[in-house]
């Protein structure tokens, strides 16, 4: 276990790709000009070895020069924790005062790159009171490295960090179990931590979690596989960072182009400059301007490097339109058949970042996309205990409701004029905002708009109710009260899969078991929905979409009543399920992919439908003559070729218990 000695003491710089640089600089440049970008966050407690890990990455990818290294070695003697040895942590420590305190107290950004990717690390502190810094660092990241000290395992701070990471919408988590050298590289320790982490993190909804045992100090499994960990067969930390797929993180469905600046050099040119927030914009597209709702067509997409046929996030372009319509900074261009919510009431999770606590009734400036709108904090609905992930009352006993520095709460904001937005979980750019204090101009909070303005608010355009005479009455009985009565939280278990995969059987099994445990639940399936509510719908793509929309709305009503809903529909289209999730609310939507290969389903063929479909008697049959889009990131996959319906139901209950428990 001493293979690391040379790496900690070597002074000679190793330059990756040195031969290539010498022999083929043109090829090298070409490759590096085309590499990708990954933004990541590192989080861990004070002594988990975070600075050491980053120092190690910078050092091993040679983002540190000899003169800088010499300075660090000099510093190691004064501040270091490794005696006369090189302390990688000192490569990443920042300002003088902090260095003397031995802790980092802000977000620092570090850069390194390999031939595949450039990496931007947001280095944030593990210190208890710095939720605000972590949220700041996390806001632009695709991936979080959660460091766990193998000696301590999953601790409160691990949970807190993971919660904030999830709140800020990061989908990829890499759990680095550090200091394995101090525990004799024990696989048992690793497995225990892995299990503990998986247990508590299930409710946070990360799409992608990986575990890697490392020793940051000695470089084990950071860049090269460690000979000390022969039982670990996975990738090294750097290999994972180089290869993790983040392309699908972006929303390419909902076109949102916030106008940032109007370029008008002369009377012949009027261009709308901005950064594509989501979706794809193409020349010729019909677009709607919000808030004016005027329609036009995209005439051209202009850049200094020439015109483009299309633009996608995060491209910064300039758009010209076929018609003169009302459009200025703060306006939004969207596709008319896919519009965001437009509302002057916003429900959001808020991270409070100022010394002066938030109070109900205070007014602020809200900066969202390219808009700055005055608004007020109408209500603090509850606070989150970031350690237990439980809700707490908005007010301390005998005190008015308040959010203090580093507290997180659910709030209701009222704005002076309507804002076009999307839920944060669906669209980071269109669901995020900051609050600016009107007196001090300080940035006092970061906000993430939640899925649905429950009980208030309306959506614009197609999703807007047809009747103009609707008004929504707020019930005197709240969801919380109903849920308290039922001793459960409403939610939706959405089963999706091919016909014959086992959805209905599992749904019935699940219903029975949940009921036996004292939960009020209800199954929605073809039998009770297709014959009544949706009798007017067939199986065309459009009808399937409408079917799922109605199901989503019904599930939401049940959930609002406090009931747990289990749906058993093929629901073949990803976009439809995403919409159902939006309608229901992502926080209480649990998507289960009931997975069985087509051949198996066809063999089972419980209703003889496959046979008919093969014979051409059923048009547009999923799997045969119509597509099935498997979920990319389901909350859970149950493989019914391996699990019995009872086992599958048990597995689902295991996962949803924390979600729906009161």
């Amino acid at each position: 276990m001493t293979n690391h000695e040379p790496s900690t003491t070597r002074r000679q710089m190793h330059i990756p790709d040195a031969d290539r640089i010498r022999d083929d600089i043109v090829g090298y440049l070409r490759q590096h000009e085309e590499k990708d970008l990954l933004r990541l966050l590192t989080c861990g407690s004070v002594d988990d070895g975070k600075s050491t890990l980053i120092g190690r990455l910078l050092y091993d990818t040679r983002m540190i020069y000899e003169d800088q290294l010499a300075a660090v070695i000099k510093d190691s003697l004064v501040h270091g924790t490794t005696g006369t040895d090189f302390d990688p942590a000192l490569l990443t420590d920042g300002l003088k005062a902090e260095r003397e305190q031995g802790i980092t107290i802000d977000v620092a950004y570090r850069y390194f790159s390999t031939s595949k990717r450039k990496f931007i690390i947001a280095d944030t502190p593990g210190h208890e009171q710095y939720t605000r810094n972590m949220a700041t660092g996390a806001s632009n990241c695709n991936l979080a490295v959660v460091l766990i000290d193998a000696r301590n395992g999953v601790v409160t701070q691990t949970k807190r960090h993971s919660f904030i990471v999830s709140l800020l919408g990061i989908r990829h988590v890499l759990v680095a179990i550090n200091k394995m050298d101090l525990l004799d590289w024990s696989q048992d320790v690793y497995e225990t931590i892995r299990r503990d982490y998986n247990d508590f993190v299930a409710r946070l909804g990360f799409g992608d979690i990986h575990f890697i045992p490392i020793s940051a100090l000695h470089g084990d499994n950071i860049v090269t596989p460690s000979p000390n960990l022969p039982w670990y067969r996975g990738p090294t930390l750097l290999h994972h960072l180089e290869n993790v797929n983040i392309v699908t993180d972006r929303n390419l469905i909902d076109l949102r182009f916030p106008v940032q600046y109007v370029i008008r050099p002369n009377l012949d040119f009027r261009g709308f400059a901005g950064t594509v927030a989501s979706g794809v914009l193409r020349v010729g597209d019909e677009v709607m301007a919000l808030p004016s709702k005027q329609l036009s067509r995209v005439k051209s997409i202009v850049t200094q490097d020439g015109t483009l046929d299309g633009a996608f996030p995060p491209m910064a372009v300039t758009v010209t339109l076929a018609d003169e319509i009302e459009l200025s900074r703060g306006s939004l261009l969207v596709h008319p058949n896919n519009v965001p919510r437009v509302d002057s009431n916003v429900e959001a999770m808020l991270v409070w970042m100022d010394e002066t606590p938030a109070r109900e009734g205070t007014s602020f400036l809200v900066k969202h996309a390219t808009n700055v709108i005055p608004g007020a904090l109408a209500e603090i609905r509850y606070r989150m205990d970031v350690n237990s992930m439980r809700r707490m009352p908005a007010a301390e006993p005998g005190q008015p409701a308040a959010l203090r520095l580093n507290e997180i709460g659910r709030v209701h904001l009222t704005l002076h004029r309507p804002l076009a937005f999307d839920p944060y979980t669906r669209n980071r750019q269109m669901g995020a905002f900051i609050l600016i204090d009107r007196l001090t101009n300080a940035t006092v909070a970061a906000g993430m708009i939640v899925d649905r303005a429950i009980g208030r608010g309306r959506r614009a355009g197609k999703d807007e109710p047809v009747s103009q005479n609707l008004s929504q009455e707020t019930s005197a009985v709240s969801l919380d009260q109903r849920q308290a009565l039922l001793r459960q939280r409403g939610g939706t278990v959405w089963l999706t899969g091919l016909s014959g995969s086992g959805k209905s059987t599992i749904a019935r099994e699940l219903e029975q078991r949940l009921f036996a445990e004292g939960h009020l639940c209800y199954v929605l399936d073809g039998d009770n929905v297709r014959h009544g509510l949706n009798r007017d719908l067939g199986f065309s793509a459009a009808d399937r979409t409408e079917n799922i929309r109605r199901l989503g709305e019904v599930a939401r009503l049940f959930n609002e009543a406090g009931v747990i809903v289990i749906t058993a529909f093929i629901s073949p289209y990803r976009q439809d399920r995403a919409r159902a999730r939006d309608i229901v609310g992502a926080g209480r939507f649990f998507e289960v992919f009931v997975d069985a290969p087509l051949e198996v389903c066809e063999t089972r063929d419980p209703k003889g439908l496959y046979r008919k479909a093969r014979a051409g008697q059923i048009p547009e049959f999923t799997g045969i003559s119509a597509p099935y889009e498997a979920p990319e990131e389901p909350s859970l996959i149950v493989d019914t070729t391996a699990l019995s319906p009872g086992d599958a139901a048990a597995r689902i209950i295991e996962c949803i218990a924390p979600l729906f428990a009161e």
């Binding site: 710089m13 330059i15 640089i21 010498r22 600089i25 440049l29 590096h32 000009e33 990708d36 970008l37 020069y65 000899e66 800088q68 300075a71 420590d93 920042g94 300002l95 003088k96 802000d106 620092a108 950004y109 570090r110 790159s113 450039k118 280095d123 605000r132 810094n133 949220a135 700041t136 806001s139 632009n140 392309v247 940032q260 600046y261 370029i263 008008r264 040119f269 261009g271 400059a273 950064t275 794809v280 202009v302 850049t303 200094q304 490097d305 483009l308 299309g310 995060p314 910064a316 900074r329 400036l365 900066k367 750019q429 995020a432 905002f433 600016i436 101009n441 300080a442 940035t443 970061a446």
Partner: protein
């Protein structure tokens, strides 16, 4: 376009353009500080891209200490002519009257008077409320924590304890009268990114970056270019023609040259990648102590 992916350079470019447009939209009197170096050249190109086909809607400001390399000034004037941008040049009149110079007064005093004080004068004189700078976070330790929008009080001071949290791409542009924001659109670029971009975009840079035979004297281990007759030669010193180039540009008596054969962009990048010392080592002002850049920043240095 159908893969919907952007290279890291295109992503950095888009981010910088977003930042530049945001400043133009939210501030009344922005200015772009133009130091004539390679980072300024990149920043200027990004500003052109941000407002194409329109003109850049703010002026450039060069703080001239009167000790810049002659080739820098020629380059500056040519760029201003060719890009049709409004160029403002400011020299500290008090410093000029007192003939403050790096030779007699030393680097620290010269930098303080002709650079830091001069910059503050220029910003006050013109009433600028936002100033773009080409600094990058990878340049120096204390810059790793710098915001993209760096708040300065009405004395142009930077308080590391009192910076606004910066989330997503939502920049808080609110300032009171007299206060200002320094904006760093290249925050997330590294030195390699800057060179790759110059290479890819064919951006012109000052010829001093390329190796050529130049008259230099060696002083305390640093090669100083004899750019004009204001550099007093010490006894025994005679300028020698050596093949040198500059990794970084500033006042010529304060900027060390390196011996090099890199006379093309490719060779420069090659040399940089194979080098084992960092870029700022050529700058004399950094030697003043471990946290010296931090102290200078607090005082209003960029």
């Amino acid at each position: 376009m159908e893969s919907f992916t952007l290279s890291h350079l295109k992503q950095l470019e888009a981010e910088s353009i977003h930042i530049i447009r945001e400043v133009a939209a939210e501030f009344e009197h922005p200015v772009m500080l133009y130091s004539i170096g390679k980072d300024s050249s990149v920043m200027l190109r990004l500003a052109q891209k941000a407002f194409h086909p329109g003109p850049i809607p703010f002026p450039l400001l060069h703080v001239d200490t009167r000790w810049k390399f002659r080739e820098m000034i020629q380059f500056r004037d040519r760029v201003a002519r060719e890009t049709e941008v409004r160029l403002l040049v400011w020299t500290n009149p008090d410093g000029l009257a007192q003939n403050i110079n790096p030779i007699e007064h030393g680097s620290e005093k010269h930098t303080q008077v002709m650079k830091t004080d001069a910059l503050k004068q220029a910003l006050d004189h013109h009433g600028f409320d936002a100033a773009f700078g080409g600094a990058r976070r990878d340049e120096e330790k204390s810059r790793a924590k710098e915001r993209v929008f760096s708040f300065r009080n009405r004395f142009h001071q930077w308080d590391p304890k009192n910076q606004r949290p910066e989330l997503w791409n939502l920049y808080n542009a609110k300032v009171r009268k007299g206060e200002s924001i320094r904006v760093f659109p290249l925050s997330n670029w590294t030195e390699l990114d800057v060179w790759l971009y110059i290479h890819r975009e064919k951006i012109p840079i000052v010829p001093l970056y390329f190796a050529a035979e130049r008259p230099v004297v060696e002083r305390d281990g640093v090669l100083i270019l004899v750019d004009d007759d204001r550099l007093p030669l010490r006894s025994g010193e005679t300028p020698q023609l050596r093949r040198v180039r500059f990794r970084t540009l500033g006042c010529y008596p304060l900027t060390g040259a390196v011996e090099s054969d890199a006379d093309t962009l490719e060779k420069i990048v090659q040399e940089m990648l194979l080098a084992t010392t960092s870029e700022r080592q050529g700058r004399v002002i950094d030697y003043d102590g471990a946290a010296s850049m931090e102290e200078k920043k607090k005082d209003g240095y960029f």
